[in-house]
Amino acid sequence: MLEKKIAGYSDEISVAPGERIRFMVSCEAGVDRYQADIVRLISGDRQPGGPGYRDELLPTSVSGEYHGRTQETYCGSYAIVPHGPAFAGLADLGLQAAIFPTLPSLRRACVIAKMDVEAGRGFALWTDPAQGLVLQLGDGAGGVQEFALGRPLVAREWYLVSATYDSAVGEVRLHQELLNSYARDESSGAATHTSAATAAVSCEAPLLIAAASRGEARGKPVGEMIFNGRIERPVVASRVLDAGDIEALRHGPVAPNLRSDICAAWDFGQAFETDDIIDISPNRAHGRLVNLPIRAVRGSNWTGDELSFHHAPDQYAAIHFLDDSLYDCEWEPDFELEIPADTPSGLYAARLRSGDQEDHITFVVRPPRELSERADAGDRATASLALLIPTASYMAYGNARGAIEVGNELLANHLTVISPEMRYLNRHPDYGNSMYDDHNDGTGVCYSSRLRPLINIRPTHPWLWQLSADMHIVEWLESQDIAFDVITDEDMHQDGVALLERYSCVMTCSHPEYYSTPMWDALHAFTQRGGRLMYMGGNGFYWRVAYRDDKPGAMEMRRTEDGSRSWASEPGEYYMAFTGEYGGLWWRAGRTPQSLVGNGFIAQGFDHSSYFRRTADSRDPRAAFIFEGVDDEIIGDFGLIGGGAAGLELDSASRAYGTPPHALVVATSEQHTDAYIRVNEDIGHMLLSIGGQDDPGVHADVVFFETPRGGAVFSTGSIGWSSALFHNDHDNNISRITRNVLNRFLDPTPLA
């Protein structure tokens, strides 16, 4: 049985000719060498009756054989504070923080540590599954003395914890106090111990929050024994803190009488949109976060009166650390490529092969960048059509673990088929999760990154979803001999509408679900300035996401209020740390998909796809061009996913939700199975009639409408649409309709 053993990623997702892209590869035992080539991707679906895999070699310096090696990934989030004068000469010690452990019984986890393990110098404060709070102090001779409180902590509760060491009398005090009040609480308590010998508290190791470290890799301490849960206002003091000091230090500025003795007091309620943690003591011993722990989360003092962290930053001064979060694998590059000057824009991959092993690290070559001094920016496009690759949605779905961890049998109404790629992903929890998964502690995954292998974002992945499904569109465009440029969500996010305005027509892929504000603005402005948009999928423009300029390849999203979702954000955590914007459904931010493209998500199901029937609107002379040469009443009763063009996720038109008043619904799907169910955000009272057979609202609408200045939008309303393009060697009514629309949309004659 085939076992997948090779995977990689690239540092860039979209590069212009002349720019560089680097590729990082890791091989498991047995793959000592591999062949790498750069190929232009033409087709990917290998199922029987499908178009198969096809590519075209791009001769580059990359082509060649490479040495395979295993590259280590260090996942898990923590903070690093470099050693500095703030921590010099420590003899006595005071430590405190508020903590909210989410997996206290899993294993010992480190809250704060500054320890030179080899020398046995420093201190570390832990939570222990059986002992609760544990303080370790160096013995100065390569070992540690350990002092335990002796009461296990309860998961998902806030505690105020503190530990002190008085070197004059050798006394250690530990304190943990549950901040909620429960009868029969046995987890709060204190302990006093006497140290056998004078502890060696001072060391020059960096200080870590939420992790301990035994050594460095890639220029920074590797975090281990990572704390799962929230930490708020950690403090390191150079003297014993009493109960009054501890209470005074929990919130607000450091009081004048404490300033001389505080090494550092970090306020996580500052610099939310960065990786910085800010020390508010006079020492300014700031630190940096690693691997995207969750910021802008509720602290121990959250009242519920304010729902945005911007309105009450002091109530959001906590960070949620996770032992499986990941920003950047930071692997060594295996090869790199400068995109040759004459490389046509397109969807490309570094194709890795070794025996029966393969991987495709997919990237986009965008058209040449316009020079900023040029006024005639429009001439830098190399085609009239742009295919918009939904890299935001690829990142959201990248490394989705549902199939291998839970099985999606009830969703699919069929047995789950596990491919070698899915087993490989399961062998690699270190590659991080998709935004559809939970972290190990049950917290929903609200950050993603493309600086890691995204195992299911591959042109040949057997789960036809996102890239593998979008290959049907690429294959169709190739078959039609239509010139097209390829651009990405990230290009659009950065360049705005100027990028789109070079084109007569922009075509989306099958499931452009995740949109940042600049992306939404750009696409909307394009449609309002005479541009023509072909929305070739379903459940598009649904969730709002955020990028950070200083964090390339990372993305944030919150699953708020409602929507079809695999987890839900905590109350009060609906605002995104990256930008401060309200997260969740675009609908809830007043921008419906219907107002952008005429239809919006209404239902989903994954067993059998259905077909469309033409409507009376389709006879409107305005829609005549769409159906030229199509006599059929029934459209798309075929396809490579579920056997129909109306399937998977469906969008319908709704005047109430913003479909333009003049929009034409030219076809409507019908007879969906009961596995198709209306989206929860569109359900008021729960009724028995929610499935496709009972609920007439469960259908997709194909929508056409003109936009100002001669533009137009055509929306297919279904993820399944593109899976029908290949049928009968592209000679079918879905292909014909798509071609009719594209021809008209490429014709400069105004539509309205």
Partner: protein, 104 residues
């Protein structure tokens, strides 16, 4: 918690319907028991494992735990998804009703 919809072991007519068309769509009565069968805990869930892409599948049970591999069930190999659905239907019928599925 999985579904608690009872399966009546005397309704072999529904089992016959499934065997004739394992991929569905099913009648409402059959879909109810298929839903009952598919609504299981993650740990131990029957899944198909690709042996030869699009040609041959083995049967396995999920671990239900991140990072822990599934468990292959030896000598359960299928050359069609339909046959695999039929085999798992039989397994689950007996598991849920306590009565082996006997069809002539």
């Amino acid at each position: 918690m999985p579904s608690q919809y009872p399966i009546d072991p005397s309704r072999t007519d529904l089992a016959h319907e499934f065997m004739a068309n394992p991929m569905g769509p099913h009648s409402a009565a059959l879909q109810r028991i298929v839903t009952r069968m598919r609504d299981t805990e993650a740990a131990g869930r029957y899944v198909l494992v690709t042996r030869v892409p699009y040609q041959e599948w083995g049967l396995a049970q999920l671990s239900g735990k991140r990072g822990v591999d599934l468990t292959m069930i030896e000598d359960q190999v299928f050359t069609s998804i339909e046959d695999a659905e039929r085999a798992v239907f039989k397994l689950r019928w007996e598991l849920i009703t306590g009565v082996p599925l006997a069809l002539d």
